[in-house]
């Protein structure tokens, strides 16, 4: 497999946004659909301090086709209930690539991050024989390029913006 990239922490990501990425159990990934339209998918976001990782089963793989065609994506975290009560909200634009050298195994590199948010994944993994296609997966690796965030969570307010090269 082409290993997922390992670089330094992206210091320009605001702390409040990092907290959201660490805690969020669900995010909304928007990609560009086949006819140029926005298409949004709820997914569990995984964060290693450098990149956002999302995984997609081949069962629900339309988004992977879309990303391969148009790799510019955006990831929003907006639900305080799914973020341990954090009020802040954000949307993160970035460049995505689909990592799927071995759809049977590659995604297991992010399994520790996944397990930390959804311990039940091990129960499902133990029954892989019953859900074989669910565990044929691709990883969507998103490198952040621009962050919008609403510190107090009020969407009516103008969001703050962070860009690479700026200190958080």
């Amino acid at each position: 497999m082409s290993a997922m990239r390992k670089e330094d922490t992206l210091s320009w990501i605001p702390e409040a946004v990092e907290e959201l990425l660490k805690k969020a159990l669900v995010c909304e990934l928007t990609v560009t659909g086949g006819k140029g339209q926005p298409v949004t998918h709820p997914l569990i976001p995984l964060w290693d301090g450098k990149r956002i990782y999302l995984t997609s089963s081949v069962l629900f793989s339309k988004k992977l086709e879309h990303i391969k065609r148009a790799p510019r994506v955006s990831v929003a975290i907006t639900d305080p209930v799914a973020c341990g009560g954090l009020r802040a909200r954000c949307s993160i634009q970035g460049d995505a690539r689909v990592v799927e050298d071995d759809p049977h195994e590659t995604w297991t590199q992010v399994l520790p991050l996944w397990r930390a948010k959804e311990p039940a994944i091990d129960l499902f993994l133990g029954k892989r024989f019953a859900l074989p296609l669910f565990f044929e997966r691709s990883v969507i690796e998103v490198t952040p390029r621009r962050v919008y965030w609403w510190e107090d969570g009020n969407p009516a307010a103008l969001p703050e913006v962070a860009l690479p090269g700026e200190a958080a």
Binding site: L25, T40, S57, T78, P132, E136, L158, P159
Partner: protein, 452 residues
């Protein structure tokens, strides 16, 4: 726009509005909203990021419930597409298209099953990208276990052991031939299981069934791309070759015409269970076929291998087991009934009402126990076989479960498991009853008749 969708949308706390920016990156903003169901509109409150009116937007409302130590549940979301128009401080969306999922209505397993064609399509895309086939994988052992439905071989093993036990009580026992009988019977059952999958794949019955469980809906190895149709045909043919070969060896060893006829009937019933032109299960005869195949044919066959003659007692002992294995199929067909009906597979649950199916289960199961009680009480089968009556409460548990979960395939799984257990426990207790009788007869020159 379906007003029901907007009514559902109104139950969410907020939405995310997304559109494609001029630089090609999607732009997303959270937003508060209200729904005007009468006008079919979503009213979006002012947002810090200005919303566009010159391009299509997508809004999503999504919900989960965090469950510490597990992850989350109550997954549901709604997606809407359309163009926005300004209305004072607010923006209006008259949705043109919608999509969504609520796991309370479409369980995750069904959602995944419905997506099998998409998975196959994506694997094909990956294969084309790489110039080499990309297939889903399971270990060889798991693939074999799943494809053959090996854990369900109890259907064959129980009646064969019973036939051997009846013969042992009559003073006949040959371990080598007993093991070969089990091998042959198990191989024919594997042939049946895999042939069933092959013909259900060809007829579209398994593809049409989006509620498979571990007990019903076939092994799914073809639908999930784990094995090709050709590989399944090879597996099925291989199993039949082993089963038929073992049977012929036993026939030659025993020189028994009865055994030849019993084996032939077993193989034909097994093959034509789903194979044309008979397709017994499509005609509502699946239960009868299974009852005959896994009842009298297996019990009598195993008896004849040992004793080289037929036995009325073996035939009678086989009837309760035959009824209970037919009931395993009968209950397993309940969640499959819609998929089966769509391809003309007219099983009994397809033909009958829920009430009739449920009552039919209870009456048949009680009949099986009544036969055991009467046969044991009258000495037709040994009295220790009354042990099997201990399993009677399971009948009522399965009956109550069917009544409660008739329309809920995934909740019915536990009931189907109990029903399999009912067949296994009764078979094991009948076997145990025979063994007690054999041991008592061996231990005492003339044990009291009331005991054996």
């Amino acid at each position: 726009m379906n007003p029901e969708i907007l009514a559902r949308l109104s139950t969410y706390s907020h939405i995310v509005v997304a559109w494609i920016g001029d630089d090609g990156y999607p732009v997303q903003t959270p937003a508060l909203f209200s729904v005007d169901g009468d006008r079919g509109e979503v009213r979006i409150a002012r947002t810090g990021l200005p919303l566009p009116t010159d391009r299509e937007v997508n809004i999503i409302a999504s919900h989960i419930r965090p469950t510490p130590g597990y992850g989350y549940d109550e997954r549901r979301y709604i997606l809407l597409w359309g163009r926005l128009s300004a209305a004072g401080d607010e923006m209006l969306l008259r949705p043109q298209r919608a999509w969504g999922w609520d796991e309370a209505e479409v369980p995750f397993f069904e959602y995944a099953e419905r997506s099998n064609p998409r998975a196959r399509r994506y694997l094909d895309i990956m294969s084309r990208e790489r110039g080499a086939p990309v297939k889903p994988r399971l270990s060889l052992l798991w693939t074999f276990l799943v494809a053959t439905r090996l854990p369900f071989l109890t259907a064959a093993v129980v009646p064969i052991l019973l036939g051997i036990a009846v013969a042992a009580r009559d003073g006949y026992f040959n371990l080598g031939l007993a093991l070969l009988t089990i091998l042959g019977g198990a191989a024919v059952q594997i042939g049946l299981n895999t042939a069933n999958d092959i013909f259900d794949a060809l007829s579209g019955a398994d593809e049409a069934n989006v509620n498979p469980t571990q007990f019903s809906g076939g092994s799914r190895v073809i639908q999930r791309g784990l094995l090709s149709l050709r590989q399944m045909i090879s597996l099925s043919a291989g199993a039949y070759v082993i089963g038929i070969g073992t049977g012929l060896y036993l026939v030659i060893q025993r020189g028994s015409l009865e055994l030849l006829l019993i084996g032939l009937a077993g193989v034909l019933i097994s093959f034509f269970y789903t194979a044309p032109p008979l397709r017994l299960v499509h005609r509502g005869l699946g239960e009868v076929a299974v009852a005959l195949g896994f009842g009298p044919i297996m019990v009598l066959g195993a008896y004849v291998v040992q004793a080289e003659r037929l036995s009325a007692e073996a035939l009678i002992a086989s009837v309760p087991v035959a009824i209970l294995i037919a009931l395993v199929l009968y209950v397993n067909e309940i969640p499959d009934r819609r998929g089966d009906a769509s391809v003309g597979k007219r099983t009994l649950p397809v033909r009958m009402s829920a009430g009739a199916v449920t009552a039919g289960f209870l009456a048949s199961a009680l009949l099986a126990f009544a036969i055991i009680a009467v046969a044991a009480a009258t000495g037709v089968i040994p009295r220790p076989a009354l042990l099997a009556l201990v399993a009677l409460p399971l009948v009522f548990k399965v009956y109550a479960g069917i009544k409660e979960c008739y329309g809920k395939p995934y909740e019915l799984m536990a009931v189907m498991g109990k029903n399999v257990q009912l067949h296994l426990v009764v078979g094991a207790l009948l076997f145990a009853g025979y063994m007690v009788s054999v041991l008592l007869t061996a231990a005492f020159d003339s044990p009291p008749g009331v005991l054996v």
